[in-house]
């Protein structure tokens, strides 16, 4: 019995030890397993966080990412699809073919994808035009790369699509600006030389008219010549405006007043057109050349009138606008306060295919002889020259709206005074500096007819020498800006050193142009643009003499 009990005790102890060891072993193993699981969880967490980061990048990127299988069917599309194409990723069409428009340029893009699949080589980015869910178009730049398996076989295509609809417009704007610049340089040069020629003709005509009365048989012919010179001068003015070489009297301008004045002038002669003004009160002023701005609105009104051969309505609206960089970026303009002026007509509208050409100089849809093709080109040049923005919206048959944005100003606009022009006799000595013999001859004769004594200098150096010799006698210097050798600016600076109180009237066929922007900053006494009339010159001189 004792032996049996002893055996049972030993057996119990035996099993107890086994149970304990097994339990302890199990505990240790599960603890190790637990550590391992925790490590795996750590890796999973890191993976999840990595995925989260990647998803954040993808979802907040400006690009739409996607993955296609080798049949070009979408396997994955990032949520940007909603913004770009109007489809949520789950509702996306299955291939690009289902999304593209019938634009023939799309074919090249799709072929590029096929090439990438066939060659396993990344192709150059391409553009495709797609139709959004709402029917609108979007231009996408596609950058695709083949995804390879371990054997180097293409198993998918990974791509990124970028909305370049805006960029295309920006590039088009830039191309337009470069083209305009080139044409402008050419047009400006022609206008300059042409103005000099006109100055000669104008001068001669003025001199002849001084010697005859209105009953003379040539009087009407000479007046006719003056009118043609005026028309030719207007033409060069348009050319110079387009070439952005005509902004010379910048002052704060009340645009509402200017619009009212321009529309009244225009409306008086165009009775079949109704002009509606919707002008914001307390409109900011715009620092601009008033005559150029009048030219802008006159051209836009004429353009609208031509678009409505059977009459119609024109709406001119003005308002203050704060433009942010999102808006101004595509126009290469700065954000800030702008005065927006919209000129809308109810006319025939502009075809989409010619819309981007309308600001080109000499582009016209009008029959030969009805338009020069310089109206809208000069509008474009003037607005750009004022750091402004011009945009056009038009649909065939639905009218056209030109939106103009000009930098707003807080400065108060001075009152506008309109002066009658008549020739005023004067007295004193004038140093006339010009490299053109034709201008010298005509100018000298005109000035002498006005009662002035005239000294001639054919270049800058000669002018300085003469002035140093006779500065006590010379009252005013009429100085050409564009001259070979020492130009007008340099000459002016030298003369100014000689006599800080010197009175100088600048003259140019260019106006105060881009080639001499320094003039705008100089303390000058005045400027007169060739071809100038006898009367205008006489008034300028009298003002400078202080005897007006």
């Amino acid at each position: 019995m004792v032996t049996e009990l002893e055996d049972a005790r030993k057996e119990a102890e035996y099993y107890r030890k086994i149970a304990k060891n097994t339990g302890d072993q199990f505990l240790r193993e599960t603890e190790e397993l637990s550590t391992l699981v925790n490590r795996i969880r750590g890796v999973e967490k890191a993976l999840r966080e990595g995925e989260e980061r990647l998803r954040n990048i993808i979802e907040h990127s400006n690009e739409m990412f996607y993955l296609c299988d080798i049949n070009q069917k979408f396997i994955y599309v990032s949520p940007k699809s909603q913004e770009f194409l109007g489809f949520k990723p789950d509702d996306m069409k299955s291939t690009w073919t289902d999304l593209i428009t019938d634009n023939p340029d799309n074919r090249a893009g799709l072929e590029s994808t096929v090439k990438a699949i066939e060659s396993a080589i990344k192709q150059k980015p391409y553009m495709i035009e797609c139709r959004k869910k709402d029917g609108n178009k979007i231009l996408l730049e596609i950058d695709e790369s083949p995804v390879l398996d371990e054997q180097g076989r293409v198993v998918a295509i990974a791509g990124a699509a970028r909305d370049v609809t805006g960029r295309e417009k920006l590039e088009a704007d830039l191309r337009q600006a470069i083209k305009m610049e080139a044409i402008g340089t050419l047009a400006g040069g022609i206008a300059h030389d042409f103005n000099n020629l006109l100055m000669g003709i104008q001068g001669r005509a003025s001199l002849m008219l001084m010697d005859i009365d209105r009953f003379h048989p040539f009087y009407d012919h000479l007046k006719g010549i003056e009118e043609h010179i005026q028309s030719a001068s207007d033409l060069t003015k348009q050319l110079l405006a387009f070439a952005r070489k005509g902004k010379f009297e910048v002052k704060p301008v009340d645009m509402n007043g200017l619009i009212r004045h321009a529309s009244q002038m225009f409306g008086r002669t165009k009775k079949d057109i109704k002009i509606n003004l919707l002008l914001q009160q307390d409109l900011w002023t715009v620092e601009t050349d008033r005559s150029q701005m009048e030219q802008v609105f006159l051209n836009l009104l004429i353009n609208a009138w031509h678009a409505m051969p059977n009459g119609g309505e024109i709406f001119i609206r003005s308002e203050n606008r704060m433009l942010d960089i999102d808006f101004t970026h595509s126009f290469s303009a700065l954000p800030g306060n702008y005065v927006k002026i919209s000129v809308s007509d109810t006319g025939m509208g502009i075809d989409e295919n010619i819309r981007e050409k309308i600001f080109d100089p000499f582009f016209t849809t009008k029959e030969m002889g009805r338009g020069t093709g310089l109206g809208l080109a000069s509008v474009y040049g003037i607005i750009k020259n004022h750091s402004g923005i011009i945009d056009v919206q038009s649909k065939r048959g639905e009218g056209t709206t030109f939106d103009i944005y000009l930098p707003g100003s807080n400065k108060e606009a001075p009152e506008v005074k309109r002066i009658d022009e008549k020739a005023l006799q004067g007295a004193g000595t004038i140093l006339l500096v010009d490299d053109e013999p034709m201008i010298i001859n005509v100018g000298k004769a005109l000035l002498e007819r006005l009662g002035y004594r005239v000294i001639i200098a054919e270049n800058g150096m000669a002018a300085i020498e003469l002035y140093e010799e006779e500065k006590d006698r010379i009252d005013i210097v009429i100085l050409d800006i564009i001259m070979p050798g020492m130009n007008g600016i340099e000459t002016y600076k030298r003369l100014k050193k000689c006599n800080p109180e010197i009175k100088v009237l600048f003259s140019s066929g260019y106006s105060m142009d881009e080639s001499s922007p320094e003039i705008m900053k100089l303390d000058t006494n005045g400027f007169i643009q060739k071809p100038y009339k006898f009367e205008k010159l006489s008034q300028k001189l009298r003002t400078m003499m202080g005897t007006n």
């Binding site: 304990k20 302890d24 505990l27 240790r28 603890e31 637990s34 969880r41």
Partner: protein, 408 residues
């Protein structure tokens, strides 16, 4: 009975409250709510959340519940971020009585007595649901957190009740760091409170306790030195030394609570077959910094008690949930009743993140509730309360599934 469940996971408390209430009303097509049971993640603004719910259901509808480490619905299971949930109940024949007692941290038994006294006039209750603050004191450098003990609380309640009814519920907890918790006390947000909801009327409560531990080696140890929740010695040896030997190192001492090892008292035959439902398990909160003893989650193991070391087992835990949930629903259906609402009170240690399982055991409950179209609301708790062997007990490392069923 109509029940709607709403879930949210948003940082703004007020917005979360409004959202869960609006969703629950829509989900259950609720017209006249009579009760809201709601839980919010510990880092959500509980006052805003409570007010958000009230702004939708009105001030007359009681809102009970409180903090939770995570929440469970038929389709959601979340313990990250700012999860929150609400169940809104509409019923003409559900009898609801609400009681609240405070100062739990001062004396659990008195708080229990105070709460029990509120229901002493009731003899038609079928179930008492209690939700109380688990955390008496957060962890400090000197030791692990101290929790409000469930045994004296339950005894206090039972002493004052007229009838022996099942008490189910939870000690609520808002985060694994044992931070401050809140309770929704019907019309206000409290702390160190116990909220009781006596439910009577035309329904039957069904419940099951899910386990997940097995005896490590089946060896009984006698507790030879203990004081409250701290055990110092077993079989005359320092308990920390005994556990060091089992692990083969002292690394486990860094764990709060201890991950794999628990203690249990077997309430059935000592050397009989292992019946999980007869074991009351206690989590080990951690070792004392001086290594002189271990702190248990509840202070109900005393000197002289025989205990076994248990191993937490993920596979067994999931099997237990599946088996018990299926059996519970089979029981309800076999009695010709229709399950109307499921409440799953799940120990926060049972999340897959804490128990190193590959998937969530609560998803088993979700699947089965979804199979029967039963609205489910669950939350992760500190302590679970449910009857074991006919006696209401505080439990650790369990899941308690309560289903209210009605006759067809």
């Amino acid at each position: 009975m109509k029940v709607g469940i709403g879930y949210a996971n948003e940082t703004d408390g007020m917005a979360s409250g409004r959202k869960v209430a609006e969703k629950a009303i829509r989900d259950g097509n609720i017209k006249n709510p009579c009760l809201v049971i709601a839980f919010a993640g510990g880092n959500l603004d509980h006052f805003g959340f409570f007010n958000g719910i009230k702004s939708i259901v009105g001030n007359d509808v009681p809102v009970i519940g409180g903090s939770a480490i995570g929440v469970i619905t038929n389709s959601e299971l979340a313990y990250e971020g700012h999860p929150s949930v609400a169940a809104i109940i509409e019923s003409d024949n559900l009898k609801i009585e609400l009681g609240v007692a405070g100062d739990l941290d001062k004396n659990e038994k008195k708080a229990g007595q105070w709460l029990g006294a509120k229901f002493s006039g009731t003899d038609a209750g079928k179930l008492l649901l209690i939700l109380y603050d688990s955390v008496k004191k957060g962890p400090t450098e000197k030791g692990p957190p101290v929790i409000n003990a469930s045994p004296p609380l339950i005894r206090g309640i039972e002493e004052k009740l007229k009838q022996n009814i099942p008490i189910l519920g939870a000690g609520v907890i808002g985060d694994y760091g044992f931070g401050v918790t809140h309770q929704f006390c019907g019309s206000y947000v409290g702390s160190q409170s116990v909220v009781g909801l006596m439910l009577g009327g035309d329904f039957t409560p069904y419940y099951r306790v899910m386990h997940g531990c097995i005896p490590k080696d089946g060896i009984y140890h006698r507790v030879t030195k203990a004081d409250g929740p701290v055990i110092y010695e077993m079989d005359g040896r320092p308990v920390v030394k005994i556990i060091d030997e089992q692990y083969g190192s002292s690394e486990w001492q860094k764990q709060n609570p201890v991950n794999r090892l628990t203690l249990a008292i077997n309430h059935s035959e000592k050397y009989g077959d292992f019946l999980e439902a007869d074991f009351v398990t206690r989590l080990i909160s951690g070792a004392l910094p001086d290594e002189k003893g271990i702190v248990l989650f509840e202070p109900d193991i005393r000197e002289g008690d025989e205990v076994l070391f248990m191993l937490r087992n993920g596979t067994m835990m999931i099997d237990s949930v599946k088996k018990n949930t299926v059996e519970l629903f089979d029981e309800i259906l076999s009695r010709g009743e229709k399950p109307a609402f499921g409440l799953y009170i799940d120990c926060a240690g049972r999340t897959s993140a804490y128990s190193e399982t590959l998937y969530e055991e609560a998803s088993e409950v979700q699947q089965i509730c979804n199979r029967y179209n039963v609205p489910l609301m669950g939350f992760y708790s500190g302590v679970e309360i449910a009857p074991v062997k006919g006696k209401n007990r505080g439990l650790d490392w369990t899941g308690v599934l309560l289903v209210l069923a009605q006759k067809y």
